[in-house]
């Protein structure tokens, strides 16, 4: 076994900046360097990365595998869509406020129930609850549009400063890309602070040894509940950002295979590291897009990749990269 990349390895702030700054710069330059379509595609990738970031707080840091994260993504997306339908809201910031509040309520409730169990029971419980929401979205078609879904037009950004109607098509895409990027960077920074805070350390203690954690005075169930809520909120944020980009929300995003996809992101990138799920989500998005355009049997490609990953490369892309770096370092 190769050693797993551990999340707790801390870098000095200056070294960290050295790694992060070029990446951020690159992300900022994407609309100038590439066609608008690439910015559009990357927006999807970054949104999925936010969802995976939230998911991994539970999976990688707390040791709970949720198979129901589609629920929180869907609550965010559907809240925004329902705000358009019933309240005629067209401001992204109001979507964010409303969507996050709704997600908070749902995660608080679901989390309160789910954290009573761990391991496989936790997974099944999260799955069952997420499917309650799916069946409601699916059956109450006069509210949610059923399988037709709900349309969401491009909203105005930054409290009306950037109006969708005054922009060209590519201008719309690029301004939204920067909006998503800003949310993404903020989310990553916030999550970085969370997992390195005493709270984050407590979660890792719970993951590694529940009994010991409770002996040193950590309220295990309470902390798991908090982690569940934070995790759901990030995924909900992803859902809110996703819906104007996609223009439409359908019950598919509440259906359980979508939760499977979120799990897939983390495994692809490597859930034992902080950046793994982010990398995995973006990589998955490209993989899916190109697999769909290349073949009708894209699910076969994705399934094959997943099976091979689990069998041969359980540490994901990050594990592979760090192993390559290790080999390279030893060679020089």
């Amino acid at each position: 076994m190769t050693p797993l990349v551990t999340a707790s390895r801390t870098l000095k702030p200056l070294r960290l900046l050295l790694y992060v700054a070029p990446l951020v710069l690159l992300l900022l330059l994407v609309p100038y360097l590439m066609a608008p379509y690439q910015a559009y595609l990357l927006s999807y990738g970054l949104i999925m990365a936010i969802a995976a970031l939230g998911f991994n707080l539970l999976m990688g840091y707390t040791g709970l595998l949720s198979f129901g994260h589609s629920a929180y993504f869907g609550v965010g997306a559907y809240t925004a869509a329902l705000m358009v339908k019933y309240l005629h809201v067209t401001s992204m910031e109001l979507f964010l406020v409303g969507g996050l509040l709704a997600t908070l309520v749902v995660t608080a409730l679901f989390g309160f129930i789910c954290v009573r169990h761990t391991r496989i029971f936790f997974s099944i419980l999260t799955l069952a609850l997420s499917q309650v929401l799916w069946s409601l979205a699916y059956k109450f078609f006069w509210v949610t549009g059923g399988t037709d879904g709900l349309r969401v037009p491009t909203p105005s950004l930054l409290a009306g400063l950037v109006r969708a109607t005054s922009l060209s098509y590519s201008g719309k895409i690029i301004s939204y890309y920067y909006y998503v990027l800003a949310c993404f960077l903020l989310s990553v920074a916030l999550m970085w602070v969370i997992v390195h805070s005493p709270f984050g350390k407590a979660l890792q203690a719970i993951r590694d040894n529940e009994t010991r954690a409770s002996f040193i005075g950590i309220r295990v169930q309470r902390y798991r509940w908090y982690a569940f809520m934070v995790s759901g909120l990030f995924t909900g944020l992803a859902g809110i950002l996703w819906v104007p980009l996609n223009g439409l929300t359908t019950p598919d995003i509440l259906w359980w295979p979508f939760s499977g996809k979120i799990v897939f992101f983390s495994i692809l990138g490597g859930f034992r590291s902080f950046v793994g799920p982010l990398l995995g989500a973006v990589a998955f998005n490209y993989l899916e897009t190109y697999a769909i355009s290349a073949t009708v049997y894209w699910q076969l490609v994705l399934g094959g990749v997943l099976v091979l990953l689990v069998l041969l490369m359980p540490t994901g892309l990050v594990g592979l990269l760090s192993r390559l770096a290790f080999v390279w370092k030893r060679a020089t």
Binding site: H117, I124, L127, K139, F140, I267, Y297, G303, V305, V307
Partner: protein, 291 residues
């Protein structure tokens, strides 16, 4: 009164199919501690094979012969299971259970497209069989004969499985492996072979469920993903790994669904998931589970 009896039969019909699927899922979990997310897709494979045989290959044959063809679908799925276990699952027994969930999720994606590749995107029907058997008069109302056959198959499967597991030597070994794999292995049980057989048996049950369901509806892509969640609900209510649990769970879900569709169709599905959640909360091991 008539409507009540018909609805009772409908619940039994539904429960029979669910028992076959959930029973297989539960058996696999009980012996190998694997939650097989591809189980629904295996059920769909059974449905496709049966629909293809009955609808396309042997279209004009008499109904009795067609009925005999249905179990072929189940056998094919059993063989698929016997191939999957040693190749995909065996390397993962020592790893955390998350990986097992994921590998079966990958398998689900693969199987879904394999079916699309072999049978195409159009639904496949075996309705010939259902039509050729007609319907019979039952307490004053007409009821499809084929549905009675499904109920009989479900009941027989439950009985046979019980006899198999509690009255044969294989059953004893299976239960021993399920209770303590290491001890069984130390006492000379060939655990590897046991796992292949148990997995293949569970898959055969799912395949049989698919095969007998298909004359009444069509085989479509995605049917496995729908049914898997219902099978989960059954297994969660009854208890993961318990066959009695799967039977009782299937009966409960069958009844709730029939009543739900009659009285409150909008929240019928949501109600089932909620029941599952409540059972998990109050008794995480289900009504009949032991742990």
């Amino acid at each position: 009164m008539d409507i009540l009896i018909i609805q009772l039969f409908n619940s039994l019909l539904y429960a029979s199919i669910l028992f076959l699927i959930a029973g297989g899922l539960s058996l696999i979990y009980g012996v190998m501690r694997i939650v097989n997310l591809a189980h629904g897709s295996l059920y769909a494979v059974g449905a496709y094979v049966a629909a293809w045989l009955v609808g396309k290959v042997a279209g004009g044959m008499p109904a009795v012969l067609l009925l005999v063809l249905l179990p072929v679908g189940a056998l094919v799925v059993g063989v698929v299971g016997a191939v999957i276990e040693p190749t995909l699952l065996r390397p993962l027994y020592r790893r955390p259970e998350e990986y097992q969930l994921l590998v079966t999720f990958g398998l689900l994606l693969i199987l879904e497209d394999v079916m699309r590749f072999i049978w195409g995107g159009m639904p496949l029907s075996a309705g010939v069989l259902m039509e050729s058997l007609g319907s019979i008069r039952l307490f004053g109302s007409l009821y499809p004969t084929y549905n009675l056959i499904i109920i009989a198959v479900g009941g027989m499967a439950a009985l046979l499985l019980w006899a198999f597991i509690y009255r044969t030597k294989f059953g004893v070994l299976l239960r021993a492996t399920s209770q303590d794999m290491r001890m069984a292995s130390a006492l000379g049980v060939n655990v590897r072979r046991m796992y292949v057989q148990a997995f293949a048996l569970g898959c055969t049950m799912a395949g049989l469920g698919g095969a007998i369901v298909v004359p009444g509806q069509t085989a479509v892509l995605g049917m496995g993903q729908d049914v898997l969640i219902l099978a989960f609900v059954v297994v969660v209510i009854g208890g993961l790994g318990s066959l009695q649990g799967a039977l009782i769970g299937a009966l409960i879900v069958g009844c709730v669904r029939t009543v739900g569709i009659m009285l409150f169709p909008e929240i019928e599905l949501a109600l089932l998931y909620l029941i599952a959640a409540v059972v998990l909360l109050v008794r995480p091991t289900g009504l009949f589970g032991t742990q």
